[in-house]
């Protein structure tokens, strides 16, 4: 079914989808991020650059947390890159669907920067009902709204945190791990849940034994254990 065959209808659809849950979520989560950057004593430019340049809360938090923990630049960058590995399969699933009617273009390399879990999920859901030549339009409108909300949230959080009573300011910072946990738990796939749950205690343990390498060790050891555990569970299920 092609519900949206005109450019203006697609614009409206994208607006309607983006205003509401995605924008509010991004505004709120990036407010938390902005306040964390401020309270960590880091400059405003870094907050904005991380939001627009990384554009994924997990990687942004990894950047600030690992830097404040005193890790060397190399390990911080490696950690951030690993925290964002999910972008590869997301893009691989997304691009062919968005570009079904047109050849690949260099613009794809710019457009992909705006992809986040929100625009990814909205695109996969809506593309089948949007005229193929208009899908890119939907994505751009949706993603620009999301990115604006996220950037605004970063600004509000960075400058607002200092003006608030201490408990509320602390609440904004506390929002980071909580947001992060429910957004990831919302992925609803068993492999990712297993890896999250296996990783949690290891994160604490490695932080106490080897604070410099804690996240990388957690990732490699926890990820490998989780993979084995998942394969085992899958094997048992298919055998029964």
């Amino acid at each position: 079914m092609i519900a949206s065959a005109s450019a203006s209808a697609v614009n409206r659809l994208a607006w309607r989808d983006a205003i509401g849950f995605p924008s509010i979520t991004l505004l709120a989560s990036m407010t938390g991020f902005g306040s964390l950057v401020h309270e960590s004593g880091l400059p405003f430019a870094m907050a904005i650059a991380a939001t627009v340049g990384i554009w994924g809360l997990p990687g942004q938090l990894a950047l600030v947390e690992m830097h404040v923990a005193g890790l060397s630049v190399f390990f911080v960058i490696l950690g951030v890159a690993l925290a964002n590995a999910r972008f590869l399969p997301m893009v691989v699933a997304f691009m062919p669907l968005m570009n079904e009617a047109r050849p690949k273009s260099r613009w794809d390399f710019a457009l992909v920067q705006m992809l986040s879990i929100n625009s990814w999920a909205a695109g996969l859901k809506r593309f089948p009902e949007i005229e193929k030549t208009l899908r890119r339009r939907y994505y751009i409108v949706f993603a620009v709204i999301c990115m604006s909300a996220g950037t605004l949230g970063t600004v509000i959080g960075y400058f607002g945190v200092g003006l608030m009573p201490r408990p509320i300011a602390l609440g904004l910072i506390f929002m980071n791990p909580l947001f992060f946990a429910v957004l990831l738990a919302g992925v609803q796939s068993r492999p990712s849940m297993i890896a999250l749950v296996v990783g949690a205690p290891l994160g604490i343990m490695f932080h106490l034994i080897a604070p410099d390498l804690d996240l990388l060790l957690t990732g490699v050891v926890g990820g490998t254990l989780a993979l084995l555990l998942n394969n085992r569970l899958t094997g048992r299920q298919s055998a029964s």
Binding site: F87, V92, M95, L170, L178, V182, L184, A185, G186, S192
Partner: protein, 111 residues
């Protein structure tokens, strides 16, 4: 902030942006040719989620920075309540975060 630390932060943030973009760019480049369910990639996904699980746990239990001044009990309780609202309330993100953060603010104000 002095000049050298500004340069260091610039390098750090720039590197983190490039490190993230590599995944996106590779996705565009190989969109048609890569199997995202290959064993190596599957492993990288598990590593990424385990790392994030570890980071969340550390931020709640052994925070660095301003949350250090709050009692562990407040953080743990508010976190558990927030995640509980998420799973108990139909997996809706915003109510869960709102309840969790509100609980945290109340606990911190009174203890």
């Amino acid at each position: 902030m002095n000049e050298s630390s500004a340069v260091a932060l610039l390098l750090l943030t720039g590197g983190a942006i490039v490190g993230t973009y590599l995944w996106r760019g590779a996705g565009v480049m190989f969109a048609a040719r890569i199997k995202s369910d290959s064993p190596v990639f599957q492993w990288v996904t598990f590593v990424s989620y385990a790392m994030l699980g570890g980071l969340i746990a550390r931020m709640v239990i052994l925070p660095i920075g301003p949350l250090m001044e709050t009692p562990l009990l407040c953080r743990a309780l508010a976190f558990v309540i927030g995640v509980g609202v998420f799973f108990g309330g139909g997996r809706r993100v915003l109510p869960a975060v709102f309840v969790g953060v509100a609980t945290f603010i109340l606990l911190v104000s009174f203890f």
